[in-house]
């Protein structure tokens, strides 16, 4: 238990020594992605093999370190999930990709015992072998501030976090700064909320600080509901203490005494890691009453979401923590004066809090040196869809889409051609070829009618139908509409009906205009931010791909060839042997023909299910 600052300094000194004593570190990725690939078994196997060899394996930082010990750690997500399971070797900085259980022996034999590199586990691209993680193009183009430790440290060890400089920002804030100074630093740094809106964090903190009512709360929004986004999951899994530290500093700055973390139920590993982290911090005395002998007390709580997207909205989230239905409410009053339990509340998202410690450590000027003038710092994006390197990336604000997709992302998957990228999830919009060189920051993206949202980037190629994408998002928003206000509850339903009609080939003249009118009404009258932005995907696809909508409605044709209901299925009479298998498979008896004679499909009956295509042994049936 740390009783004062000296205790903490001594604790850190000891942790640094223990960390430094590990001559070699084998770090196995234990993020959701790599665990699914079997990384925990790899970890166990490595441990077993190393023990067999008589090596001194240290699975945690030891109090009495051996100088020949090998550290074996489970880290959080590296972001390069596609190449997982990943194993990193330090201090060399090597990265082994797609590691299998069978590879463990060679890793122990060569790398651990002899310090040799196992070349066949390297990441290779275009005949080039990338030994070091930092040299791999996917990482080389990134600037990692928030994700700095993800994949490099043991995510379940507070000692390791402290050993690499963790909680020094909190220490500094607690003993050397007062609330005014902290808020001033955060304000000066220009840190803007990473959850979507981009509201200046310092301003929010300042407003809460000024409130007189007690107690005050710090709430972390970890309800990362946007489909296609997993930045916050990775931070919570890979560097949970960093987020806690940010929240604790926010508590100091605003006079709050309790922190609440609201995490999606779909992230069980993140919940587990956070629980461990909180328990460790409490045990050490970094959380609790009179922390390190000061008059600052701070308690941390975790709330698991229960599967409601709307709870990502501030007032719905606080309602949910209070044990109510997650309904947003009319604002004002704002969360800063009337938030959780009707008390002043700082509400920021995971990534925002994860930025705080470094700003306190290195100062606002350092932070201002990264990114653009109006949006300093970096932004984590989840890069997914039809792209070579899917994964989690972090780049300075102002990086262009071209750099993200073609340099870091390695270009399109297969030989597809870039068509569009969906940014910001169901509240966001599509950016197209003409936006490839647009520097991405809060304001630039807003100017073109999109929003950064939480940072999901879904890349789409020419085989993706934009009308179908709009339908997909509308279906999502419609499902997730909480039902409190009419424009969102009814409006999204009507929009979805129209979109479903269009992709099914039943579009009518006037549908596009009707969609636009509904979108306009919803945007101007819905109660909360999620409702207001629900029509965005439709509006932006109409704006950028109006011809595609027209083709569906007037020509009953899907230019991307994606809409099943608009396909025609034909049998090539030259290839058909008349085996009758397709006719027997067809669920609606749309295929006719005599045995050993070419068959035909009655297109009026055909429901385009495609089961004949997979049934045909002669590849005679094709979609047109």
């Amino acid at each position: 238990m740390l009783k004062n600052r000296q205790d903490f300094i001594a604790y850190r000194k000891e942790a640094v020594a223990a960390y430094g004593a590990q001559a070699e570190k084998i770090i196995v990725c234990a993020g959701t992605g790599c665990v699914a690939g079997g990384s925990l078994k790899i970890y166990d196997r490595l441990k077993e093999l190393m023990a067999e060899k008589g090596l001194h394996v240290a699975v945690e930082l030891e109090v009495d370190p051996h100088d020949d010990s090998v550290g074996l750690k489970k880290s959080g997500c590296h972001g390069f999930c596609e190449m997982g399971p990943l194993v990193r070797i330090d201090p060399q900085g090597w990265l082994y990709t797609k590691v299998k259980l069978e590879d463990c022996e060679e890793i122990v034999e060569k790398t651990v015992c002899k310090g040799e590199y196992v070349e066949r586990l390297a990441y290779t691209k275009e005949n080039c072998i990338y030994k070091k993680q930092a040299d791999i193009p996917f990482y080389a183009g990134q600037t990692r501030v928030v994700l700095e430790h993800c994949g490099k440290i043991d995510a379940t060890s507070i000692r390791e976090y402290v050993a690499i400089g963790g909680y020094t920002a909190f220490e500094k804030a607690l003993f050397e700064m007062n609330a005014d100074l902290i808020v001033e630093q955060i304000s000066k740094s220009g840190l803007r909320g990473r959850g979507g809106g981009g509201f200046p964090a310092g301003k929010k903190w300042e407003q809460v600080k000024r409130q007189k009512a007690l107690p005050k709360y710090v709430v972390c929004n970890g309800d990362e509901g946007d489909p296609g986004a997993f930045m916050d999951r990775s931070i919570m899994e890979g560097d949970p203490h960093r987020m806690l530290e940010g929240m604790m500093i926010a508590g100091l700055a605003t006079g709050a005494s309790h922190g609440y973390i609201y995490v999606r139920a779909e992230y069980p590993l993140a919940v587990e890691r956070l629980r461990t982290a909180i328990a460790q911090a409490e045990q050490l005395g970094l959380l609790g009453d009179n922390i390190m002998g000061t008059d600052f007390s701070f308690h941390m709580h975790i709330n698991r979401g229960a599967g409601a997207f709307v709870c990502g909205e501030g007032s719905a989230l606080t309602a949910s923590i209070e044990g109510k239905r997650g309904f947003p409410r009319v604002k004002p009053p704002r969360t800063v004066e009337n938030g959780l339990f009707d008390k002043p509340t700082v509400l920021n998202n995971v990534e925002t809090f994860a930025n705080v410690a470094e700003i306190i450590n290195k100062g606002a000027d350092w932070y201002l040196g990264i990114g653009t003038e109006s949006s300093p710092g970096t932004k984590a994006f989840a890069l997914t869809g039809n792209i070579s390197n899917t994964g989690l990336i972090e780049v300075p604000m102002g990086t262009t889409l071209r750099e993200i997709i073609f340099d870091i992302g390695g270009g399109m998957r297969g030989d597809g051609e870039f068509k569009a990228v969906q940014i910001g999830g169901p509240s966001g919009a599509c950016l197209t070829k003409e936006h490839l060189d647009l520097p991405l920051d809060f304001d630039n993206i807003k100017k073109v009618g999109a929003m950064i949202g939480s940072g999901g980037l879904v890349v789409m190629d020419e085989n993706t139908c934009m009308v179908e994408v709009a339908r997909f998002f509308m279906n999502f928003t419609q499902n997730e509409s909480c039902g409190k206000c009419v424009p969102c509850r009814e409006g999204t339903k009507r929009m979805l009906e129209i979109l479903e009609r269009i992709v099914a080939g039943q579009g009518r003249d006037g549908d596009i205009e009707l969609l636009e009118e509904l979108a306009d009404t919803i945007s101007s009258t819905a109660l909360c931010g999620l409702g207001k932005s629900a029509p965005n995907p439709v509006v932006s696809t109409i704006k950028n791909f109006r011809d595609e909508y027209k083709a569906h409605i007037y020509d009953k044709r899907c230019p991307a060839g994606a809409c099943q209901k608009l396909k025609t299925i034909v049998i090539d009479p030259n290839l058909c042997k008349g085996c009758t298998k397709c006719a027997r498979q067809c669920p609606v008896s749309a295929i006719n023909g005599k045995v050993k004679e070419p068959h035909t499909i009655d297109l009026d009956k055909c429901i385009r299910c495609g089961s004949c295509i997979s049934a045909c042994a002669f590849h005679a049936i094709k979609e047109d």
Binding site: T32, G33, V35, A36, G37, G79, F80, C81, E82, G84, E224, G225, D226, P227, G228, A229, F230, R233, R264, A265, E266, Y267, P268, N303, R304, G305, A306, G307, A308, F309, S320, I321, E322, G323, K324, R325, G326, F341, A382, T384, G385, N386, T390, G391, L392, Q422, G425, G456, V458, M460, T464, V469, F472, F473, F476, N479, E480, C482
Partner: protein
């Protein structure tokens, strides 16, 4: 109310949250983790203990998608239909699994209570798309054929249990 219903589990969970009204979501979550759904017997019981109306508890239980008032299968299969999984064709996987198990969008749980099939809007494992989970274990880079093989495996597990 069923005479046999044993409230010991519910009591333990309620005690862990000091019978606080604000803990209702967490309380229901823990009850569901135990029973795999929310048995109807608990509503009146919790309402009395927390000094809330049964309607309030019911309103919370029906608002959040994760709560189920119907018993769920031994294996809960969640197919991710988030954006990333969707563009990498998750729907054919869902169709195949439903076909294998004779389930549909309306009928989510098999009659023998072995399988429940649901979709989720994102599991945050987009790098491995398309994914599904079986009782929270993630299966990456799925295809309809891999899904069929998985169902076969699970059925064998049931047969051998």
């Amino acid at each position: 109310m069923s005479a046999q219903f044993d409230f010991a589990v519910v009591d333990r969970i309620l005690a862990a949250y000091d019978c606080k009204q604000s803990g209702i979501i967490a309380i229901l979550q823990e009850i569901q983790e135990h029973y795999h759904y929310l048995p109807r017997e608990i509503f009146q019981y919790i309402a009395d203990k927390l000094d809330m109306s049964e309607a309030e508890i019911y309103s919370v239980a029906t608002f959040y998608e994760n709560f189920s008032l119907e018993p769920k299968g031994k294996y809960v299969i969640k197919i991710c239909d988030g954006t990333a999984c969707h563009v990498r064709r998750s729907i054919p996987i869902l169709d195949r699994i439903r076909a294998e198990l004779g389930l549909s969008a309306e009928k989510k749980t098999s009659d023998d209570l072995n399988f429940t099939v649901e979709t989720v809007s994102c599991l945050g494992a987009c790098g491995l798309a398309p994914v599904l989970t079986v009782n929270d274990v993630v299966y990456p880079a799925m295809t309809p054929d891999k899904a069929s093989a998985l169902i076969k495996e699970l059925r064998e597990e049931i047969a051998n249990a």
